[in-house]
């Protein structure tokens, strides 16, 4: 494999890695009679690559590989008919409890708002225009 191709493949894999860095993702809400359950998972992708020169006269080689992982973080339960804080349960798995609490709530709200209204904030480019009036 040529050095150029190896380099191109490596940068492609790096871009993929950047795109799919570890993050929290919400599953489809499961609506039940008395509650709605929203699964929460952490998605990550590991990418590795390497290249080497063979003996003089032989072609070098490049190897690349990627692996994705999904690990459950917890679930959010909204109980129907139970008012106040009692109606919302965030059940995080013990090992990720602290981290999950910090990361989850704003995302949960966003998910709810999109579900309820279907409206989204302005694009960054539009905001920039308005903030430079």
């Amino acid at each position: 494999m040529s050095e150029d191709l190896a380099s191109a493949l490596k940068s492609f894999l790096e871009e993929m890695k950047a795109m799919l860095s570890p993050k929290i993702v919400f599953g489809e809400p499961i609506v039940m009679e008395d509650k709605t359950i929203i699964p929460v998972v952490r998605v990550s992708l590991g990418v590795g690559g390497g290249s080497g020169k063979g003996e003089e006269g032989s072609e070098g080689c490049f190897g690349g590989g990627g692996g994705g992982g999904i690990s459950p973080v917890g679930i959010i339960v909204v109980l129907r008919g139970v008012p106040g804080f009692e109606g919302i349960k965030i059940m995080a798995f013990p090992s990720t409890l602290g981290q999950a609490l910090g990361e989850l709530l704003p995302k949960v709200m966003e998910t709810f708002m999109t579900m309820m209204t279907g409206k989204k904030p302005l694009e960054e480019e539009e905001k920039k225009k308005l903030l430079t009036v």
């Binding site: 008012p83 106040g84 804080f85 109606g87 966003e110 999109t114 989204k120 904030p121 308005l130």
Partner: protein, 188 residues
């Protein structure tokens, strides 16, 4: 000959002065109201705050801090436009000095004219959000609705529509300003 060329200019200047004066007052009020809402939001519980902030941003297009920044910039823009129109007013009877005073206008009004349509669109989203608040209050999921005080609920139903009407008037003012400034350009 000079007088003929600038026929109608004094009236146009006067109209734009009135519009700018009304607009700066309206934008200042809007800015103060947005700041007050932002500050009040900080005193809310984490859960209620998260819900309200996301709801506000999704519906109006921007968060509280961004609206405050936008309104302050818009106010500053109209203060500059007002000052340019004031200078024009001072020389309106001297045709030899009009071109130079008139020439300042595109610099100060350009950013407003370029963003006018987007501003109107996003302010309209804000206005409609406030006007729809009474209906929306009823559509908030019950677990979240129970977190609101009676005072909040009353304000959302009674006060929010008035704010919405105020923003609609602000939009009308911006449209008028655009027309008048564009009209002034014909004297350039």
């Amino acid at each position: 000959m000079g007088e003929k060329k600038y026929e109608g200019l004094p009236e146009l200047i006067e109209g734009l002065q009135n519009t700018c004066s009304n607009l700066t007052a309206g934008i200042e009020e809007f800015s103060q109201g947005t700041k007050a809402s932002r500050d009040e939001m900080k005193s809310r519980s984490f859960l209620m705050r998260s819900f309200a902030q996301k709801d506000f941003e999704s519906n109006t297009g921007m968060g509280f801090d961004e609206w405050v920044e936008f309104s302050e910039r818009l106010l500053s823009r109209f203060e500059n436009i007002s000052a340019a129109v004031q200078r024009l007013d001072e020389v309106k009877l001297d045709p030899s000095r009009i071109p130079s005073a008139l020439g300042e206008l595109p610099n100060v009004a350009g950013p407003f004219l370029e963003r006018h349509d987007l501003m109107v669109e996003v302010l309209d989203r804000f206005a409609n959000y406030m006007l729809d608040m009474p209906k929306k209050t009823e559509s908030i999921p019950k677990p979240f609705r129970a977190l609101m005080s009676e005072e909040d609920r009353k304000r959302m139903v009674e006060e929010a529509p008035k704010v919405g009407e105020g923003i609609k008037r602000l939009i009308d003012g911006l449209k008028t300003a655009k027309e008048q400034i564009t009209d002034l350009y014909r004297f350039l």
